[in-house]
């Protein structure tokens, strides 16, 4: 668990996606965010910068995802080179090359930080389609930096939701989630995320650099960056198979 992490844009985008639009309901805004960030597939190179008490560790990866249900990532930094993740629906496996070991991640470990980061396995596995697990309410508009935002509050309506409540700040023009707060049932703030950079890919805006902060740990943060983003690349189901994981 303490070794590296990666996951796909789908994973991390899922952890930070949602939206709103003036005069529109929260559901309509979320639908626009989903439409903006929807893709058949995505391929990218990623970099995790994990900072703990002034110490920073980085991890790099190549990743491929299809929708929000399938993802494959392989770490490329020296410490974790060859470590791979495979996500299929709610199942997640890790492959460690030195021992040729394939491990299915147990459910109780899903709240652990992936590869020592502030992003949990649960964050990574959750579908970006919030409407299935949360009810949405529009809150007064706000700004993040100089960007006007819609604010949408999500409340869990099923016990399998990763968080009891989430608040999203969504760029009114680009429909990208600029900021997010995630809360426990007790009301305690568990985690925050913020979009540090956006990138235009074709007709869409993508959060290409995001910061995640776990409020359960002191003085930690994880910055995730994506480069070489390609959308709607051709993929096959075999690329998300156990054979690909252990090849």
């Amino acid at each position: 668990m303490k070794t590296a992490v990666c996951v796909t844009a789908a994973f991390l985008l899922a952890a930070g996606a949602a939206a709103a639009s003036f005069g529109q309901t929260a559901e309509q805004i979320l639908a626009k965010v989903d439409a903006n960030e929807s893709y058949q597939s995505i391929r990218y190179s990623g970099r995790l910068e994990i900072t703990i008490g002034g110490e920073t560790r980085y991890k790099t990866m190549d990743a491929l995802a299809q929708g929000s249900t399938k993802a494959f990532a392989e770490f490329t930094n020296p410490e974790d080179r060859g470590t791979r993740y495979l996500k299929r629906d709610k199942n997640l496996w890790i492959y460690f090359p030195k021992e040729q070991d394939t491990v299915k991640i147990s459910g109780h470990l899903l709240k652990e930080g992936m590869m020592g980061s502030d992003v949990s396995y649960e964050d990574a596995l959750e579908s970006s389609d919030f409407t299935q697990k949360y009810s949405a309410d529009r809150k007064p508009d706000d700004t993040v930096g100089d960007r006007p935002c819609f604010v949408v509050e999500l409340t869990a309506k099923v016990p399998t939701a990763a968080y009891d409540r989430r608040v999203l700040w969504i760029d009114r023009e680009r429909f990208v989630t600029l900021k997010q707060e995630m809360y426990a049932k007790s009301g305690r703030l568990l985690k925050t995320s913020a979009t540090l950079e956006m990138q235009r890919v074709g007709e869409r805006w993508f959060p290409s650099r995001e910061e995640f902060v776990s409020k359960l740990r002191a003085d930690t943060k994880t910055v995730f960056s994506m480069t070489n983003v390609q959308l709607d690349v051709p993929v096959t189901d075999q690329q998300f198979s156990m054979a690909a994981l252990t090849k």
């Binding site: 560790r57 494959f72 020296p78 459910g107 470990l109 198979s241 156990m242 054979a243 252990t246 090849k247």
Partner: protein
């Protein structure tokens, strides 16, 4: 190994040709891989130990160190790939003596080089050089199926410590944690869908009848990763039939069982392990039970019938991990306890400190299972840098 080396060269040549026809979309992984990578690690591990059975004596104290350089080269293009991993170790003091003891024990392998500085196995030996080829194989991917030839790690384990169905694994006991050695084998894997497959492995010896052969089928059934295996162990003159699984019901659950059926007509025996793991906050807990119905002939490291394992891992920070492990042979009154602290000291550099105490020969660890002292204690530090 010479035959494997020739095969490896041939397959890499084939890779270069087939790779020209392979498109990114056909590549099984998400990444575009470099044609080759070279990485490795340097591990320096000094330690001190005490082994004795009676009153305290400074003559029972020992010191040693092991400095290991490991290098792994991976090359490939398109459908074919190859890997070569070699390790060289400079051993001093008790570490050299332990390496000699391991080499002379059933865990020793003739193809691993150990050069004592003062004569093989002599008392007072204080230095040695060890070298081995951990992996050397070539792999050919054929539309999902893959064929691998050469020295490779074949890992079927599910459990935290015991894996009766992990029938090809041979362990290196010289370090803080056991490391899997490579097995000289031919392996064919054929996917059956995206989460299931067949795995045929042949690990022949110079006398093919003494080799080990198996066929394994694995699948994700619901939320259960499960497999069944049947095999032939020529060295033990018997057949093997086993099954294993991993799933979770709030807690993680693993199970493995294998039945050894000798040709001689005598009754076979069962070895089985069941484990559970659970986490709360910064703690991860694991426990496992191992039943060895075959005694020492089935498992030299854990000859006892009933064995227990427990571990608690605490991660107060992502840069620090503390683990306490206890292994016990319930009826044999043998056991090992190990406290390990692992610190991420810098990017790609870890420091591991350990304190280990044991009685009898139950347990993994440096030299456990090959020594004769009734009880031992060891402490050491390891610095590992990866590049």
């Amino acid at each position: 190994m010479k035959a494997f080396a020739i095969l490896l060269a041939a397959l890499v040549s084939a890779a270069a040709a087939s790779g020209q026809e392979t498109t990114a979309a056909a590549a099984p992984a998400g990444a575009e891989h470099a044609p080759w990578t070279l990485d490795g690690s340097l591990l320096v591990q000094p330690l001190a130990g005490y082994a004795g059975g009676g009153s305290w004596s400074t003559s029972n104290l020992s010191y040693g160190s092991a400095s290991t350089l490991g290098v792994t080269l991976r090359a490939g293009s398109g459908r074919a790939r190859a890997e070569a991993s070699v390790e060289g170790t400079v051993l001093t003091g008790s570490s050299a003596a332990t390496a000699s003891a391991v080499a002379a024990s059933p865990y020793g392998r003739a193809d691993e080089l150990l050069v004592p500085a003062t004569g093989a196995g002599s008392a007072g030996q204080d230095a040695a050089l060890a070298a081995r080829i951990r992996t050397l194989y070539a792999r050919l991917d054929l539309d999902g199926a893959s064929f691998t030839a050469g020295r490779q790690v074949v890992n079927y384990s599910r459990g935290s410590l015991w894996s009766p169905t992990d029938i090809f694994t041979e362990l290196d006991l010289a370090g803080i944690s056991p490391v899997r050695r490579g097995t000289d084998a031919l392996r064919l894997t054929v996917p059956l869908g995206v989460t299931a497959g067949l795995d045929a492995v042949a690990a022949p010896t110079l006398t093919p009848g003494d080799g080990r052969y198996s066929l394994r089928a694995n699948a994700l059934v619901g939320d259960v990763d499960a497999a069944v295996v049947a095999g032939r162990d020529g060295s033990l003159r018997g057949w093997l039939f086993g099954a294993d699984f991993k799933t979770d019901l709030e807690v993680g659950l693993t199970g493995e069982a294998i039945y050894d059926l000798p040709d001689s007509g005598v009754a076979g025996w069962v070895r089985a392990a069941a484990g559970v793991d659970w986490s709360t906050g910064d703690f991860v807990l694991a426990a496992e039970y191992y039943y060895n119905g075959g005694g020492a002939s089935a498992d030299l490291l854990f000859p006892g019938t009933h064995n227990l394992y427990g571990s608690v891992t605490w991660s107060p920070s992502e840069l620090l991990q503390l683990t306490l492990e206890v292994i016990a042979d319930v009826r044999g009154a043998a056991g090992t306890s190990t406290l390990t602290a692992r610190v991420s000291a810098a990017q790609n550099a870890d420091v591991t400190a350990f304190l280990q105490a044991g009685n009898g020969s139950a347990g993994y660890g440096i030299g456990y299972g090959v020594g004769s002292a009734s009880w031992t204690a060891q402490a050491g530090v390891g610095l590992e840098v990866k590049f």
